[in-house]
């Protein structure tokens, strides 16, 4: 059980980072885990930063177990401020780790606090809890891309969209 409830996870659960819904945003999503009722409302604000798409803010409100709530906090720390490419890579690494049934331990240097969720992979019923906020972010980010000013001027975005879709 200590695998699952690592101190980092409990810290994020008690002191969530980035919580609360904020303006501005391009897209807001509501995701639920229908088997247990965990819920999250999440907003994404993307900015065109001199031709590079950046995750200017991720804001959220939710209710659920320690795993889903701590995961939302870690997601905020991992994704807010990153370029969209970096954020999608971080999502990919996180998803690969928690769905690996314990095969992939995760790399602390690239993943930071998110590696604490490696233990979740051994508890199949909890993987959905950990993924809920991340997949909500992905959904909102994909929706946001249609509404970012000067978005159409960035040819590389088409490729990012495809890569993002393939993660789902």
């Amino acid at each position: 059980m200590e695998d699952l409830y690592q101190e980092i996870i409990l810290d994020h659960y008690r002191n969530p980072q980035g919580r609360g819904l904020r303006e501005p945003f391009q897209a807001q999503v509501h995701h639920v885990n229908p088997t247990c009722g965990d819920e999250i409302d999440l907003r994404v604000h993307l900015e065109d930063d001199n031709g590079v798409m950046r995750v200017a803010d991720v804001s959220y409100e939710g209710q659920g177990c320690s795993i889903s709530q701590a995961s939302a906090s870690v997601m905020y720390d991992s994704l807010a401020g990153r370029t969209l490419d970096e954020a999608l890579e971080a999502l990919g690494r996180f998803q690969e780790m928690v769905q690996s049934k314990g095969e992939i331990a995760g790399d602390e240097d690239t993943m930071g606090d998110a590696v604490a969720f490696a233990g979740v992979a051994k508890y199949p019923a909890r993987v959905k809890c950990a993924l809920l906020p991340w997949l909500a972010w992905k959904d909102a980010a994909m929706q946001s891309m249609d509404d970012v000013p000067s978005m159409d001027d960035v040819p590389s975005m088409a490729g990012v969209r495809v890569e993002g879709e393939s993660n789902g």
Partner: protein
């Protein structure tokens, strides 16, 4: 704890010998304490043996075939129906086999939407089917504590027919608030469908006054007995209702079989639900006519082995005595309620006393989400259920997003409850709440 346990109405040590799964270890060597029987019960060897014996000796497609095995299989299947019917005080012909109780309740719901759709363009209906034809503004009454299986099918009926769904609200301690019953049961009420015992709250509902109120306006009464038939003596014909749905796997039987009992007049007047082979009388390219109940509602090759297994489960429970089962559970429930009350920061969701209360006990722990409570208990080998228990509106009504639920049965004893209480006491420490 001060609760006096009535001595040995069930010899749990002896019973546990019939359930080898209870001897396995979990989570790295810990003893399994199975307290999730409201979700599904474990199966005794007698049930497993009966299924295996059927496959070893008599397996064949029932109700067809000119060979000895087919005869034996048919006899096993219809014999099982008679045994299961007898367990609930019914005639064999009034018991329909389904996949599960969800399908049993859908069978009732679809009788309404199918009859309404057929009547709209003059298609043939069985005599007496008028009571299943809904008009816009007709009302269907359920309760706020229903399992989704007794809620969503009725929502669907409403969306197909223009009927209106109404529900009986809950009191703060998780009982039906019957103060407005006379406003909720109207001359437009066509169905009243409710649970005899809540899977979320443990509440045992008063069947008689609800059934009487429904009957007074000519409404059909459907009872979800999933959480009652496994736990108390039941005579479905004495309940004053038109139909009763329950599942096999919550009463020691196999998965894949549920039952629907209904009065002969009710079954005879219902159009079919799932259609195809075995449920017909004659078939031409233009149209078909349908078999008498129960076969009208049993399309395709049925779940013979599961019926045989469920009949063996009825034998097993009757050998224990359903009165003894109820007494044993009442003792464990009293013991558990008192133990839980002594754990700081734990709140019962549902009746906290023993009046009209079954053995499923939902609770919350201050500052700790129900999922996390279940996970900590699991680390001590204690199997409980977490979440909304397929009764999401009931959770909302009780002001909780979810609960943790323990539900003992015939193979649990006070040692199991002690282990549960002890582990429950550790939950808040893990999360730094105590």
């Amino acid at each position: 704890m001060s609760v006096a346990i009535s001595p040995g109405t069930i010899d749990v040590r002896r019973v546990r010998e019939d359930f080898p799964i209870l001897d396995r270890s979990v989570r790295g060597g810990g003893r399994l304490v199975y307290l999730d029987s409201a979700a599904t019960t474990q199966k005794p060897l007698a049930v497993l043996d009966a299924e295996r014996d059927y496959y070893l000796t008599s397996n064949a497609a029932v109700h067809r075939g000119a060979h000895q095995l087919a005869e034996e299989a048919t006899e096993a299947f219809e014999g099982a129906r008679a045994r299961i019917a007898d367990f609930v005080g019914a005639r064999a012909d009034d018991v329909v086999f389904t996949r599960n109780a969800t399908e049993s309740l859908n069978l009732m719901a679809y009788a309404f939407s199918n009859a309404t759709a057929k009547a709209a363009h003059g298609a043939p209906l069985p005599p007496g089917a008028e009571r299943f034809i809904l008009r816009e503004g007709d009302e269907i009454l359920v309760t706020e504590m229903e399992h989704h299986a007794n809620l969503v099918p009725w929502q669907e009926v409403c969306s197909k027919t223009g009927a209106i769904l109404r529900w009986i609200p809950l009191t703060p301690d998780g009982r039906l608030d019957l103060s407005s019953l006379s406003d909720l049961v109207t001359d437009r009420t066509r169905v009243v469908s409710f649970t005899q015992q809540s899977n979320l709250l443990g509440t045992i509902n008063p069947v008689a006054p609800l059934a009487q109120a429904a009957r007074a306006v000519g409404a059909l009464v459907v009872l979800d007995a999933c959480q009652s038939i496994p736990h108390m003596p039941t005579d479905v014909t004495a309940l004053g209702v038109d139909a009763v749905a329950w599942s096999g796997h919550k009463m020691l039987g196999p998965t894949g079989i549920g039952c629907l009992w209904a009065t002969p007049e009710t079954l005879a007047s219902m159009p079919p639900f799932i259609t195809g082979g075995s449920m017909i009388e004659t078939v031409t390219m233009e149209a078909s006519t349908f078999a008498e109940p129960p076969k009208r509602f049993e399309a395709g090759v049925p779940m013979v082995a599961q019926a045989v297994g469920l009949a063996a489960a009825c034998d097993y429970l009757d050998a224990l005595g359903m009165g003894n089962v109820a007494g044993h559970e009442a003792s464990l429930t009293a013991y558990a309620l008192e133990g839980i009350a002594d754990v700081p920061g734990v709140t019962i969701v549902g009746p906290a006393d023993l009046v009209d209360r079954g053995s499923a006990i939902s609770f919350t722990v201050d500052g700790v989400h129900p999922h996390d409570v279940g996970q900590v208990l699991d680390s001590s080998g204690i199997a409980v259920r977490v979440g909304h228990h397929c009764a999401w509106p009931g959770c909302r009504a009780m002001g909780v997003p979810a609960t943790t639920r323990m539900s003992p049965y015939i193979y649990n004893d006070t040692d199991d409850i002690d282990d549960f209480i002890q582990a429950l006491g550790r939950v808040r420490q893990v999360f730094g709440e105590a």
